[in-house]
Amino acid sequence: MRWFGFGFNAFQQIQTQNNPEYSGLDAEERLSSPTELKGHVNRDGRCFEFSQIRASWSRRASLHSDGFVNDSCRGVIKQSRGCRDVFISESHLTLAFLDRVECWDLQSSDETPSWTMGIDTQSKSSAVNLPLVPGGYIASKPPFFHSLSPHMQAKSLALGGEHVILLTATGAVYTWGQGSHGQLGHGGLLPEEEPRTVEALWGMKMSSVSAGGWHSVCISDAGDLYVWGWNESGQLGLPSQRLRKTSEKKTDQQEGELSQNSSTHQEEVFISIQAFPALFDVTPLCEVKTVSCGSRHTAAVTTSGDLYTWGWGEYGQLGHQSFSSSDEPQRVEFFRAQQLHVVGVVCGPWNTFAAVANEEGLAPEYPTKPLNKHGE
């Protein structure tokens, strides 16, 4: 599997600067076009692909197919050998092994994790799908462990900026946390302290969930996308007044006039906050396979291998070779042009990472045969 990244790069988390005299000031802080991530080459000169990528605001954690984790700031973490899953926040790195979960403080140079939890490998429910762990989930900062009732049958969980979304084994969706931007999907703006079911989706089986800074997205079994929360940069794919006003101002300035109060769009309905889930059509042509949310943008992969992005784009995180935002989904043409089949996507707060399959169109499973550059 090859990975391409685009968007915020001020910490070289996508592409490192080649200049040996790099001083941190001349690097390309934002990449608007998909850039391939270099695979990890270990001591023996063997090249390993990434099986998983996670990104925080300033870092990227990559899980290699040989079971090591690389942090874009610190390099390979030797204590990560055998790691199965990884999660990263601005303050901590979470590593999941077969028999334990560890949280490492990224600011400290300690040789041991700041928190550890053992996993009962004999138990049936020992599966780890970070941030889900047996019995609950791991937050991005202390206190790490939050318990979840076993009745919930949690299958996957996503952490938003200030809310949480959970998918159960039966396909139901629960949300809790802050709700001031409609991100809980219960129709109001009030917070919820305990998991509350999203009633509007009742009766429809969901297959995956994702959370951004202030928005939530989920995919149904049938491949439909549902969105709710804040739409200030068009991250829900619904008409955004702020984007329309900004693009008007730009055109007016190019024409040499200052923008007057525009009344041409007064009939159009703009949505700033969507407090109930809304069915969202990414493309009428095919279904959505997987979706990921950044802070204020959204990226979706279709069953036909295309990547669509929408929302905040000022750091190039939409991948359309520009720094504009968009409230309409657009296909990232780069992959089509290169005849690459997108199979997965992971968003950092201000960037996007797309996983691309090899020529056969298959995504190798973990652990994968190492790619040997010496032709053996």
Partner: protein, 385 residues
């Protein structure tokens, strides 16, 4: 570097070492790293685009924190970071021969920092905006609308002052002593209109507050404006406009008067200290227990028909009616609250009044009131305890 760029550098610390960047551990090291890059570029020769981008990174990351959780709980450190972002952006905008547009954007940036950020480096954004405003006065060719033209436009056909029934009128008293005000109105919590107590305000004398005056002092400053008929309505919203835009759009109704805009409940005098010099805190506030610093001063500026729906204030309120001397600009209090929603209210004892320029209405704490402007109006309120 332009002369403006030099002026700005002259108010900043002499070099990198003397430029403070101290934050609590609420601000992540990665963010401090970008701030350090901005600081380095400030004293170096980096390209303009790169400076602006690094400043924008700081603005964007702190903006996200400012929108996380409730405003009350936003850590002050993040508001400081936001102000630093504004400072670096202004420095980048003004370094090399800024256009008029770039200077206006710099003023707007300072205002965003003053409105949403927290004071840094001895309130440097306040100093910066003053330098920038001087630059605008020097370079701009104002097409000042003639005084007569303005007067004509403002002669809106507002309703005539309604007649107040004597038995329902708020009593009026001219320059009472502190003692008599305290005994007869403050302690028994009775509303009263104080006459003659703000006659000495520059805003009513040598610096009369007119549209032209407000434009000259604050025309390019950005302020929060409430749009919509009243804040209890569904389509009510807040937006940011320059004072010029607010006056053009909502006072002079140049967009055809489709919606109502109200510069309401805004601490304008903290943002624009030049205007604070035109008003004085009423002496009667010394009867309260708090310090002068604890008094909240708000500006209320809007066209005819702005409404503050029925509400209470948590503190004592002096509502001073200012405004240009061309027109009488009355306010009306406590008439006809919605009879359907509050049927009992119409039976409750109530008082009404119309405020003229120079009047100061005392609204006792917890006293319900409803305010509607009959014509273009500028008032200043003092909340004290």
């Amino acid at each position: 570097m332009s002369s403006l760029g030099s002026k700005i550098l002259s108010i900043l610390p002499a070099d990198e070492e003397q430029f403070p960047l101290q934050f609590s551990d609420k601000v992540e090291p990665s963010v401090v790293e970008v701030l350090r890059r901005c600081r380095k570029q400030l004293y170096g020769n980096a390209a303009c685009a790169s400076r602006r981008l690094n400043a924008q990174i700081i603005l964007d990351v702190s903006w996200e924190r400012l929108n996380t959780g409730t405003w009350r709980h936003v850590d002050k450190e993040w508001r400081r970071v936001y102000s630093y972002g504004c400072l670096f952006k202004v420095a980048a905008l003004c370094r090399e021969n800024p256009s008029q547009q770039e200077i206006l954007e710099a003023v707007r940036t300072c205002d965003m920092g003053l409105l949403m950020g927290a004071a840094i480096m001895d309130d440097i954004l306040q100093v910066l905006v003053r330098i920038l405003q001087n630059e605008i006065s020097k370079t701009s060719k104002d097409e000042e609308k003639s005084v007569e033209g303005v007067a004509k436009k403002l002669k809106t056909e507002g309703p005539r002052s309604p007649s107040i029934r004597e038995e329902k009128a708020v009593p009026r008293i001219k320059c009472p002593s502190l003692e008599s005000f305290s005994t007869n109105y403050l302690l028994p919590l009775k509303p009263v209109i104080l006459e003659g107590i703000i006659d000495h305000w520059p805003a009513l004398n040598n610096h009369p507050w007119s549209i032209e005056y407000l434009r000259s002092v604050a025309g390019f400053r950005t302020v929060p404006v409430e749009v919509g008929s009243r804040y209890t309505d569904e389509n009510w919203s807040q937006t940011l406009l320059t004072v010029n835009e607010f006056i053009d759009r909502y006072i002079l109704n140049e967009d055809g008067g489709k919606s109502r805009g109200y510069l309401a409940q805004h601490q304008l005098f903290d943002q624009i200290p030049e205007l604070k010099e035109d008003i004085r805190i009423p002496d009667y506030c010394c009867l309260g227990e708090g310090d002068e610093d604890d008094i909240t001063i708000n500006a209320w500026f809007g066209p005819a028909g702005t409404v503050s729906p029925l509400h209470q204030d948590p503190q004592q309120n002096f509502l001073a009616q200012v405004s240009r001397s061309f027109f009488t600009i009355p306010l009306q209090t406590c008439t006809n609250p919605n009879a359907e929603l509050f049927p009992e209210f119409s039976k409750a004892p109530y008082l009404e009044c119309v405020l003229e320029p120079g009047d100061v209405l005392f609204i006792p704490v917890k006293h319900w009131h409803y305010v509607r402007s009959l014509q273009v109006s500028f008032s200043v309120s003092f909340w004290w305890s």
